[in-house]
Amino acid sequence: MKNDIEALYRDMLRIRRVEEAIADRYAAQEMRCPVHLSIGQEAVAVGVCAALEKKDGVFSSHRAHAHYLAKGGSLKAMLAEIYGKEEGCCKGVGGSMHMIDLEAGFLGAVPIVGATVPLAVGAAWAARLRGEDKVIAVFFGDGTFEEGAVFESINFAVLHRLPVLFVCENNLYACYTRLSTRQADRSIHGVAASCGCNTMSLDGNDVLAVYDAARSAVSDLRNGSTPYFIECATYRIREHCGPNIDDELGYRPKDEVEEWKAACPVARLQSRLDIQPRDRLADMEHAITQEIEEAFACALAGKTPNQTDLEGYLYG
């Protein structure tokens, strides 16, 4: 387990810089698929994944880059996938909304809202039946908590005491629709608690709080506890889908946006970092930039996938 602050900071910064690099290059129209960037939400992914081991599994949904990278998914394979190249993690079949890295325990992300929540429960069920010591975490947004399959899955996970960590990233909006327009006036974690989950509600932009919560949940789950449900308050800084900032549309109150920008998880942790000399921080930035530049270069130079391979992917 990675418990030092510097490592948490580095992982968040790396995700931030990857997402910014995607946004900067998106206008070139060479990444020809929708992208849902995680900027502003890095702390949830990094805090939870730092509490997991490699053998543990993670599922996610359309906004998956942070989860994939935090779990150890290959950056090169991710960028190649977004560029639609043979070297991509889905060889170009998936794009940004379909991420997988089995080696890293990133078991899959797909863009049907709620689709992977039952799969996570099923993976945990299989682990139990096969006698494997594994915890499965699944990341989803507040909108997902309106899908029926999610409640069906939580019920089954609690009924069978499966080692599942449900992680709800509550960023208050489903596309442009505010939470209060979609859900009754009660807390998400409160509903999860009434379904029988152990629940925690926390500041999802505080990576240390997320990490501490996830670590204690994972430890309990390994000892056979009922499933955990962590609700993390966080905020998406850019548009729902795409590289831009869309505050000019006015669907989110200005002061709300400003408050959350001030609560940036990366900047907040940086202020708590005690890195001496300060040059080391610049070295960290430099190493991250180099890695990203190299991964983009690889993606751009990647091979064109072969259409004739498609049929072979369908049935095994």
């Binding site: 599994g57 998936g94 078991l107 039952p118 429960v121 399959a149 999610v150 899955s153 089954f156 498609l310």
Partner: protein, 356 residues
């Protein structure tokens, strides 16, 4: 020496499950009512007693979530079989079946298989009505990534279920309740029957009748009556809906020059139309008659037995349609006298009790 005896299709299905679970400890069985006293029409009776409650499960009434949970188990090393007592209930899991099961392997470029079997049961009659008697094979068969089968004989029911469980892909295994009680010669040993091959149940030279599921029974009864009257039809049991074995069908049509498709479902957008299209594309020049679909009217099934009398085409309907279509001069009285039902129309007929 292969030991064979006559058992019902329900018993054949139960035996397939038992033998598949014995041969592979990853196989698990789940469904609403699986361990209950009725055991899904007897097809799961005694299995929880034999394999325990960590391999045989009842489940919450949560079809979509449970399908996703089974997919999650399937991509994590298990081989789940999930059962729905009515195919209508499986509509609740179309999201997980179409978006996840059918595509999980494909969208991740072949890295992960989904060895999942979904047993669904269709039926007709006895007032099952609009939401308990649909025959939705075309909906499932429309989706690349799924395999869809509809065995009719007890032999195939066992062999295709074992093949489906051994298969690394999601298989929709469609049973017909009226076939559950029919007996067939079934070997005691485990064996498999291909999931992509039709079979010629009866050879003939005047027309090819391609039938699905219970319509195979109706087609065989019709063929027998027509043969007495000099019309010699070939009956093909399609067995598989996706993929369709067009090779066997086209080869037969090339010999007979006529195609009649007998489906258990609605005509519009049905699989019968797909067969007609496939034959027209590849063997149009061999057709001496226009192709014909014998299917349900484009109406949901009514409930009252007064209303279902003409809703389901039976052997007599099929024989009439074939004779008329081929321009035969057999009289209706000839057909009626040979295909007169001694049982009411809304329960399985006594005239065909097997074996196939």
């Amino acid at each position: 020496m292969v030991e064979i005896r006559q058992i019902t299709q329900a018993e054949a299905i139960r035996e397939a499950l038992e033998q598949a679970m014995l041969e592979d400890e990853r196989v698990m069985l789940i469904g609403e009512g699986v361990p209950d006293p009725k055991g899904i029409f007897g097809t799961t009776s005694g299995l929880q007693e034999k394999f325990g409650n960590s391999r045989v499960f009842d489940m919450p009434l949560a079809e979509n979530g449970m399908t996703g949970i089974c997919i999650g188990a399937a991509i994590s090393g298990m081989r789940p079989v999930i059962v729905h007592q009515r195919i209508d209930f499986a509509l609740l899991c179309m999201d997980q079946l179409v978006n996840n099961a059918a595509k999980w392997r494909y969208m991740f470029a072949g890295q992960v298989n989904v060895p999942l079997v979904v047993r669904v049961i269709v039926g007709r009659g006895w007032g099952q009505g609009p939401q308990h008697a649909q025959s939705l094979q075309a909906m499932f068969a429309h989706v690349p990534g799924l395999k869809v089968v509809m065995p009719s004989s007890g032999y195939d029911a066992k062999g295709m279920l074992i093949a489906a469980i051994r298969d690394n892909n999601p298989v929709i295994y469609i049973e017909h309740r009226w076939l559950h009680g029919i007996s067939d010669d079934v070997p005691c040993e485990p064996y498999s029957v291909p999931l992509d091959k039709a079979v010629i149940r009866r050879s003939g030279r005047h027309a090819t009748v391609v039938a699905f599921s219970f319509m195979v029974v109706e087609a065989l009864l019709a063929a027998k009556a027509l043969a007495d009257l000099g019309i010699d039809v070939e009956v093909i049991d399609a067995r598989s809906v996706r993929p369709l074995d067009m090779e066997t069908i086209v080869e037969s049509v090339k010999r007979t020059g006529a195609l009649i498709v007998a489906d258990t479902s609605w005509k519009t957008g049905g699989i019968a139309g797909e067969i007609v299209a496939g034959v027209s594309e590849t063997a149009f020049g061999f057709l001496r008659h226009p192709p014909l679909r014998v299917a349900l009217p484009d109406l949901p099934a009514p409930t009252s037995h007064h209303l279902t009398r003409d809703y389901y085409p039976d052997a007599l309907c099929l024989a009439r349609a074939i004779a008329t279509h081929l321009g035969s001069d057999v009289t209706d009285a000839d057909l009626v006298s040979r295909l007169f039902r001694t049982t009411p129309h809304d329960v399985p007929q006594r005239e065909f009790r097997g074996p196939f």
